[in-house]
Subunit: 212 residues, 2 copies
């Protein structure tokens, strides 16, 4: 958690943020356990130990609470910093060579996948039962946008594999660093997150970097 | 369609089989469009142009109809032949080298994935809404059994990559030849089924076959 620049957060701000985190954690747990439809804001309030009015006041309604839970889970915190402005993403973009970019990018993506994997099915089921849920994320596919930006940078660096277009690289990053593939290895086949990360690095290096 | 050995099917058998196929096609379309819960046997009967009693008589109930639709979609026909006894699977097992086994195995798997991809989400949603649906397939994970059998055969052949265990190979086949990954490339990123097949062959060859 970072504080507002040049100013230490006061006790009231710290307390409000803790309460917010507690509500989001309770929401994540209940949405995953019971599903979106079966979870009420009263359930979340009870689990978080707050009044239901506090939930309404902080998040507005169930859809907004759900969106905030998903966004915070992807980001890892509730700082208003987009994925492509995150330190781990910038470290990749700033790396001098394609193999170094790939290493940083997979490491950062693996941390996101670890957080996101447990909620993937819940999000899909929520979107299936309430069509307006998908509309909460106006970009058609933010995950593709992120991978496509990384691919353009990666394939323009020394050590990138000749003859592979940025578009092809984006498709491969999008699919290999997907929650779906992560779950097949880690949930279904029992691989550790570290083992998946190592596999993703060597698979992607073979396809996107020059032989050496 | 093959006929019973040594005996041409009579007109009545042919007609019954055509009706069965029509009911299963109608069921697939309605289950995918409306979901398992919202589809009634009366809907399926109407779409297939048969009496609802014909559905009951042929399939028993909605769950059995659903199971039969899924099994026939995976197999590509309604012959009672398990995946591992199918010609395409045996062609892989009988191939003399690991690279040749891989080529045959990916080609056969790609045909299965093409058929299965459109119903994957429907099956997941049905299992989510009716826990007994999962119980219709008593094997914990038939897909893993198939890939594991292929992996054991493949890694014992000349041209297999040294140092890769059959268990590791099975995990990689299971994940790369999954409906989930197929959908990411073909549905989300617009790759043709042939392009996915080529990508899967070269990705798997790099990981499971010796360099040459």
């Amino acid at each position: 958690m970072t504080s507002v620049k040049g100013k230490a957060p006061n006790r009231r701000t710290v307390k409000a943020r803790e309460t917010r985190t507690r509500m989001l954690d309770a929401a994540r747990q209940l949405f995953v356990e019971r599903g979106y439809g079966a979870t009420t804001l009263a359930d979340v309030a009870e689990a978080a130990g707050v009044a239901v009015q506090t939930i309404y006041f902080t998040f507005g309604n169930k859809r907004s609470l759900f969106k905030e839970m998903v966004d915070v889970t992807i980001a890892g915190d509730d700082e208003p910093v987009a994925t492509m402005d995150r330190d781990w993403f910038r470290a990749g973009i700033d790396a001098p060579t394609a193999p170094e970019h790939l290493l940083a990018h997979v490491a950062g993506s693996a941390r996101v996948l670890e957080r996101v994997a447990p909620i993937v099915r819940t999000v899909e089921q929520a979107a299936g039962s309430d069509p307006e849920i998908s509309g909460l994320w106006p970009d058609a596919d933010p995950r593709y946008t992120v991978q496509s930006t990384a691919a353009r940078s990666l394939m323009a660096k020394p050590g990138a594999r000749p003859g592979v277009s940025a578009a092809d690289a984006a498709d491969v990053l999008y699919s290999i660093l997907s929650p779906e593939l992560y779950l097949l290895f880690v949930r279904d086949r029992g691989w550790s997150p570290e083992r998946f990360e190592g596999w993703a690095v060597s698979t992607l290096r073979a396809q996107l970097c020059a032989e050496n």
